[in-house]
């Protein structure tokens, strides 16, 4: 499907325009440009440029027609290459073997069970499909010939069938795949089997071989004849590659990772992005199997996704912790699997060897090398992962490290109570002042930058926790230090909000009460200083939110008080966008309260004013994504409100317009959770409206779109309660729609998902 052209498209298109007709002065376009143009991937300007060129160059026009015809023939070629006829052409005829039956079929060949005449034994024979290039099979033969390990099916011989196709005969493994075999067995037994498979892959790694397609179906469990115990055997090195030289740097691996058919749930993020695989990609695949062995489900449920959607989901998905799904998982095992499944290859085990060793340690009850990464380590990872946030994270790390040093000085000084030390303390205190300001600023900016990191809430929480712990340590030494109190007040407030978002209302309340207690100590309610006033209003607002579940009356009172503070601020500083934005937030809350009380007129008035304030905020900060989000949410809120009133038709039109704006914003900030959530809410509203107006197909499309966005959010971070509930609602609506359409099977499936 054609997608909107981007600047990158144009740049790519321009870069591919080459002087391809030798001997002429005309700059002609190459096949890449022409193909992308024929596919509708380039923009209007590129098309015009091409058309204008063709006016004087018949050759390019002819090539364009040819490329279009070629693209039209691709499906027929694929159909011929992947014939649905099993067993045709006839089973291969190979001297010395009797073919018994086909065992399976892969991307480049078929595998048969055969009887070898001499020595008499059963073997598996892999035969190339008729028109494939035999070099692919030759590569597998070369790789298997290097490997001799009880956990890897061994090769016997290679040659040509009577009709000239390449084949090789290998050990026949009479067993079942690892997941099937492991079903119902005790956890330790499952993990012991996996450890043996990991050890086999580790052996291959030591010889420079990277498998690149490790998945449960490629690990068969059989009973070792001599020992009588279950042994996993790793198969199918058809996509494997060899390091350019033993011990070569990871970046120098040869080969391509492009096997994308059917194994997406076990693919590493870098492979799904089409980047080269290395030993750590195999580690990720083995970690994915470990995940499934423990939890009983794959990391990525493909569901109704298309292949491209599944690949995109795989490329961005950070594996959830085992304990978030199976809380009974031993912490060390959780840490081992988490390390194998780290998003960044550099954070994983270097190769399968280290992974196997840690599994062995765990099985033997010894301490494991893997452990949960600290928040500091996570912040370091941010530097690699988040280009926008990296500078901030790096600076924050420096600040935290400086804190540690200062704390040591302060503690030493306090203990010794020496005059010289007091002097040093004073110096340290000055540095501390500067560092507190710097850290507060950096932390705010870092958290803001990380808002584009879908699924990063857990990391955000841990970083903020880490900072809070440092502030606590410092406050222990100097409990009345106002700068520290103020900084800690803000940090606790942020932590409270993150806890509330993750459904931990009790912790949110306790953190916010601590924060507000500090606020009451350092801020004055009747202050005229705008910053102080803002902080006070902010504290009231957050405390109100934290108390909402447990003490509605107190929460409402605090909300009113906060609104009053922000009203005063907006009146005295009408051009300070953050003051206007906060007042808008308070008005939205007031609207909700009015609506609960059945007062629709007041609710409309509050929402309208909130929208005006948000629009003003956006005018003041046109480049701010937060301001844009605020304006979009305010617009949506008013339309959502109107849906329940008399002018529902206009509300639907507003929702459709807002949806288009949200799509535009997401085209730039594709992983911004708040925007995704907003889009899902709009889709859900539109689904309901379409259903009510007798348009079930459109309703279904919107409900499914909502489900997809919410599923993306929840898959990235299963702890976000609100989104989980909304996803359930989307599934429920899809179930209802399927039931109404008479598709009971789909209804049951969506019903099950909604639970």
């Amino acid at each position: 499907m054609a997608r909107p052209p981007t600047n990158t498209d144009r740049a790519a298109a321009e870069s591919t325009a080459t002087r391809s007709h030798e001997g002429t002065a005309t700059i002609c376009f190459d096949e890449e440009f022409i193909e992308r143009l024929a596919n509708g991937e380039l923009d209007e300007a590129s098309r015009l440029e091409f058309d204008s060129h063709c006016a004087g160059c018949a050759e390019c026009g002819r090539r364009f027609d040819e490329v279009r015809l070629n693209l039209g023939a691709v499906e027929a070629v694929r159909a011929a290459a992947w014939s649905p006829l099993d067993g045709v052409p006839p089973e291969p005829s190979i001297d010395g073997y009797r073919i018994l039956r086909q065992l399976g079929r892969g991307g480049m060949g078929r595998v048969y069970l055969a009887e070898q005449i001499r020595p008499a034994r059963l073997v598996a024979i892999k035969v190339m499909e008729p028109f494939r290039d035999s070099r692919l099979l030759d590569r597998e033969v070369e790789i298997l010939a290097r490997l001799s390990h009880p956990g890897i099916a061994s090769i016997h011989e290679a040659g040509r069938t009577s009709d000239g196709r390449s084949y090789f005969a290998m050990e026949f493994v009479d067993g079942e795949d690892l997941l099937t075999h492991a079903r119902g067995r005790p956890l330790r037994e499952r993990l012991a089997l996996l450890r043996d498979a990991v050890a086999a892959v580790a052996y291959a790694h030591r010889l420079g071989v990277i498998h690149r397609d490790v998945k449960p179906g490629n690990i068969l469990v059989t009973r070792a004849p001599e020992e009588g115990r279950w042994t996993p055997k790793v198969l199918d090195f058809g996509l494997a590659t060899i390091r350019a030289s033993a011990g070569a740097a990871d970046g120098s691996l040869i080969g391509w990772s492009g096997h994308v058919f059917g194994t997406i749930p076990y693919m590493s993020p870098e492979q799904s992005r089409g980047e080269p695989a290395d030993t750590r990609s195999d580690v990720h695949a083995l970690g994915s199997i470990a995940f499934e062995l423990v939890t009983g489900r794959p990391i990525l449920e493909l569901g109704a996704r298309t292949m491209h959607e599944a690949l995109a989901a795989r490329a961005s998905l950070r594996a959830p912790r085992l304990r978030s799904i199976s809380p009974e998982t031993p912490p060390d095992l959780d840490a081992i699997v988490a390390k194998a499944l780290e998003f960044e290859p550099a954070d994983r085990y270097d190769g399968a060897g280290a992974f196997a060793e840690d599994l062995s340690r765990w099985l033997a009850g010894q301490a494991v090398a893997a452990r949960a990464p600290t928040a500091l380590e996570q912040a370091r990872r941010l530097i690699r992962r988040q280009p926008i946030a990296s500078a901030l994270a790096a600076a924050l790390l420096v600040s935290i490290a400086a804190f540690a040093a200062i704390m040591t000085v302060l503690a030493a000084n306090l203990a010794e109570r020496h005059q010289a030390a007091i002097s040093a303390q004073s110096t340290s205190r000055e540095r501390l002042d500067a560092l507190v300001s710097q850290t507060t600023l950096l932390l705010d900016e870092l958290l803001d930058a990380m808002a584009d990191d879908l699924g990063g809430d857990a990391t955000r929480s841990e970083i903020v926790e880490e900072v809070a712990r440092y502030y606590d340590s410092l406050l222990e030494a100097d409990p009345d230090e106002p700068r520290l109190q103020r900084a800690q007040m803000g940090v606790l407030r942020t932590l409270s909000a993150l806890s509330r978002q993750r459904g931990d209302a009790e912790r949110a309340r306790s953190l916010m009460e601590r924060s507000h207690e500090l606020a009451a100590r350092v801020l004055t309610a009747r202050t005229i200083d705008p910053d102080e006033k803002f902080q006070w209003g902010y504290s009231l607002m957050y405390l109100a939110a934290a108390l909402r579940e447990s003490d509605r009356e107190a929460s409402d009172r605090l909300d009113d008080e906060a609104t009053r503070v922000f009203e005063e601020l907006a009146a005295s500083t009408p051009d300070v966008e953050i003051h206007l934005a906060q007042l808008a937030a308070m008005l939205k809350r007031k609207a909700n309260r009015a609506l609960s009380a059945g007062d629709r007129d007041s609710a409309r008035s509050h929402l309208t004013r909130a929208l005006e304030l948000r629009q003003r905020t956006l005018e003041l900060e046109p480049e701010s994504i937060a301001a844009l989000e605020g304006a979009l949410v305010a617009r949506y809120s008013l339309a959502h409100f109107e849906l329940g009133g008399q002018d529902a038709e206009r509300a639907v039109a507003t929702l459709v317009e807002t949806l288009a704006q949200v799509d535009d914003a997401l085209a730039i900030h594709s992983a911004r959770r708040r925007l995704l959530e907003l889009r899902a809410q709009i889709h859900l509203d539109l689904a309901g409206a379409m259903r009510n107006s007798g348009q079930p197909q459109s309703a279904q499309d919107h409900a499914f779109a909502a489900f997809r966005d919410l599923d993306r959010i929840v898959t990235a971070d299963p702890q976000i309660l609100r989104c989980r509930m909304q996803r359930s609602a989307a599934c429920g609506m899809l179930a209802d729609l399927a039931r109404e359409a008479g598709d009971l099977a789909a209804a049951a499936e969506w019903e099950a998902r909604s639970r």
Binding site: E32, A73, V88
Partner: protein
């Protein structure tokens, strides 16, 4: 592999009744016939028998001058012969199943679709087989790198940059190989079933 179009085969058969060309024709036609046979409930072995009989009947009929190209392309004519022989094979197979000489299969006793219902699948199967012959020919004509580039991006749907990396050639060369071979395939396909 020698490239032989359908008209070449038929021309040879016309000139020389004992020409080995019928074997080439058999190789090209047997898979669609087997697929048709299994679609009509025959086992693989029974369908192979039906394919043999069809081709023998075809050669006999052709030598007797009963094929007229004005009446339509070869594969349509062949479809009629194949359908008739597959139905005969079905009758034999039915007798063997009733007498217990062949394993029974409930699928066999299902409704037998008429020729018009079977024709689209036959056309599809014929097209696939023809394209397969073209692929084999095109593979023999081009360099290993070009073929691998083509196979990676067209058949296995790899991104061109990944194919280029795998083969150690420029992306431009991947696009060139893709289109050169696709163009050649279209030419070969047109030649393969040219009017006899």
């Amino acid at each position: 592999m020698e490239w032989v179009t359908t008209s070449t085969i038929l021309e040879e058969l016309r000139r020389d009744a004992a020409s080995p060309s019928w074997r080439r024709l058999f190789e090209r036609c047997r898979r669609p016939i087997i697929e048709l046979g299994t679609r009509l409930g025959l086992t693989r072995v029974e369908a192979e028998d039906a394919a043999q009989e069809t081709l023998l009947a075809f050669v006999e009929s052709f030598r007797a001058g009963r094929y007229e190209r004005e009446r339509g392309p070869l594969h349509r004519w062949l479809f009629g012969i194949a359908h008739k022989h597959i139905l005969r094979q079905r009758d034999r197979a039915a007798r063997e199943r009733r007498t217990g000489r062949a394993p029974d299969d409930s699928r066999f006793w299902g409704d037998v679709p008429g020729p018009e219902a079977l024709r689209p699948a036959w056309e599809e199967s014929w097209e696939r087989e023809s394209m397969r012959a073209c692929l084999e020919r095109a593979r023999d004509e081009c360099s290993s790198d070009a073929w691998q580039a083509f196979e990676l991006v067209v058949v296995r749907q790899a991104p061109p940059h990944a194919a280029a990396e795998w083969l150690g050639i420029p992306v431009k060369a991947v696009y060139n190989a893709k289109h050169r071979i696709l163009t050649r395939l279209r030419q070969l396909r047109a030649e393969l079933d040219e009017p006899c």
